[in-house]
Subunit: 342 residues, 2 copies
């Protein structure tokens, strides 16, 4: 039985692993498996642990390898690093799986939503954008992490808001709105009494995920009407839309012409604040459309109703010579559509 | 004899310690003593080592404490942390000194140049700006490190140039000039063949000082005529000038009225590229002057001809109830003056 099982995993800060054979047999959660963040050892151990727990949960023999382990991992970009991860898994855990496949969280998400392609825009702790054309070719924008990008992510939003408090204190840049809500929220969230107190959070004890978590407080402030919180989310909307504009020239003609127009798959927790980002996001796309993309008539924003692990499993199965059909319409939800005025 | 010796130290990435009693008796160098970067233990050990070597070099008994140890340390900002540093030094090295005084690199530099005040603008690996008024009051801008500021610093210049290469590759932002020189220089300096190769330098093996060192290559490119290199230095000039504009409203009237106009003390290696920064720097100050600072008629840029350790020693001596007169005119050099058109 187990040899026909397709197993797949996805990971960002919290990992989720599911096991399926046409339908989902078992689901397990685990710690972060981004090998850039936790190291190769923790990554491999975390994956093995999740798979073994899933086998047991599904009533399978944990000593029998599964047929295929298809994984969609944040940080699964660099070919050499991925191959090393697979080699290490094979060597250390021979009972894990017969074949291995690793793709990125973006591609796993896209494969969960469609086999035709589209644009994925991830905005969680970090951000990333990937165009997948109908012919399978990919074009990326962003995904370089907080030191070189992450525009429009929770980290970036938190940083922008906090930087405005620093700049206002320094008289270096005048804030477009009153900083008091953000300043108080920052002092509460980070448990500091002044800007000096922020230094450990920026350096010695810096944790990207914790820093990015401040974004939730800003979303609350924005929803409650604070103008500066609303401003940073509007800017995030613009930043995310700019990632789409960046890959627009490479979008295959056919991707524009479906019923939904250009499909944009939105992944990550920041998209929960869509209402706060909407004005900035739509503005940037409308400007780009007006400047020369006449075949770009409509776009739709989609979210996944299933874990992007599904797409990872599908691709893993394909890689192992099998097929794992997914019901795409059941996997996605359209939450916004816009048709440009002609 | 040693009890009448005033010892002083300064530190940024490379420390320098001098020993003087009216005139300089001995000079020693040491490793970085920024306790935020190297930790309290390394900082204290480094300082003790430099002082003891200086005593020996000056022919003094290393077991006899000096009268006063006045230090000007980068990272010497936070009162509680500084007090802990002093307490630890007293406890661990009782033969070091009778009294201790720690100020920042900015204030140490200012005290080396003048006892009347002025504006210090540091641009080395990081950046910082401090106004010291004739009455001794201080107003700061910046100095928050690379995660929250450092605008106009070598780190910031390097980052801006590299970010332009990433953004051009992503089609996210169009570079104002051809990126080829910067891209090649980056690949050579960091020994990478593509952008992916930069990720370890940004995260796993990130070292701010090494990253900032790329700025030298950009300065070479700018001097050789590369437009993008020239652009980032022009932007750095603007950024540094904005720090001055930020503290302008707090500048005491008297600081404008000396022969030099507003004295701006320029500290740090980035100022060696003044010619590349000049247009951006002067533009921002001229705009600020035109928008409401009619008493701001002239400014002069100064560099130190002596180590800013001198100012630290002077302040340490004052703190210990002694005085250590400095010949300010011998300590500074005016390298640029500008009088605004009325």
């Amino acid at each position: 039985l187990a040899s026909s099982i397709k197993l797949y995993a996805t990971s960002s800060y919290l990992s989720k692993l599911l096991m399926l054979d046409g339908h989902i047999l078992a689901e397990t959660d685990g710690p972060c498996t981004n090998h850039w963040l936790v190291g190769v050892d923790n990554c491999i151990n975390g994956i093995n642990d999740m798979v073994q727990r899933a086998k047991i949960k599904a009533g399978l023999d944990p000593d029998t390898p599964v047929c295929s382990l298809g994984m969609s991992l944040s940080g699964g970009e660099q070919k050499a690093a991925i191959q090393k991860l697979i080699d290490d898994m094979r060597e250390r855990y021979p009972k894990l799986s017969q074949s291995y496949f690793i793709t990125t969280d973006a591609i796993g998400a896209m494969a969960t939503a469609s086999d035709y392609g589209g644009i994925v825009v991830i905005s969680g702790t970090g951000s990333n954008c990937k165009l997948v054309n109908p012919d399978g070719t990919q074009v990326g924008c962003g995904g370089w992490g907080h030191m070189m990008g992450d525009e429009g992510s929770a980290y970036w939003i938190s940083h922008m808001a906090i930087k405005m408090v620093f700049d206002a204190r320094d008289n270096l840049v005048t804030s477009p709105h009153d900083i008091n809500y953000v300043k108080k929220a920052m002092e509460e969230y980070f448990q500091v009494s002044d800007l000096m107190g922020m230094l450990p959070h920026l350096y010695r004890i810096f944790q990207k995920s914790y820093f990015a978590g401040f974004c939730r407080k800003l979303a609350e402030g924005g929803s409650a009407g604070d103008a500066l919180c609303q401003h940073v989310f509007t800017e995030a909307g613009k930043a995310l839309a700019r990632h789409i504009v960046a890959v627009l020239p490479k979008v295959h003609q056919d991707l524009f012409s479906g019923e939904l127009g250009l499909p944009v798959l939105c992944v990550g927790s920041v998209w929960r604040s869509w209402e706060l980002m909407k004005s900035g996001f739509t503005q940037v796309l409308s400007e780009a459309q007006a400047h020369g993309y006449s075949h770009f008539q409509k776009y739709s924003l989609l979210t996944l109703r299933q874990s992007s692990a599904l797409g990872g499993a599908k691709m893993g199965a394909q890689n192992a010579g099998a097929s794992l059909p997914l019901d795409y319409s059941a996997n996605v939800n359209v939450f916004f559509s816009h048709t440009f005025n002609q």
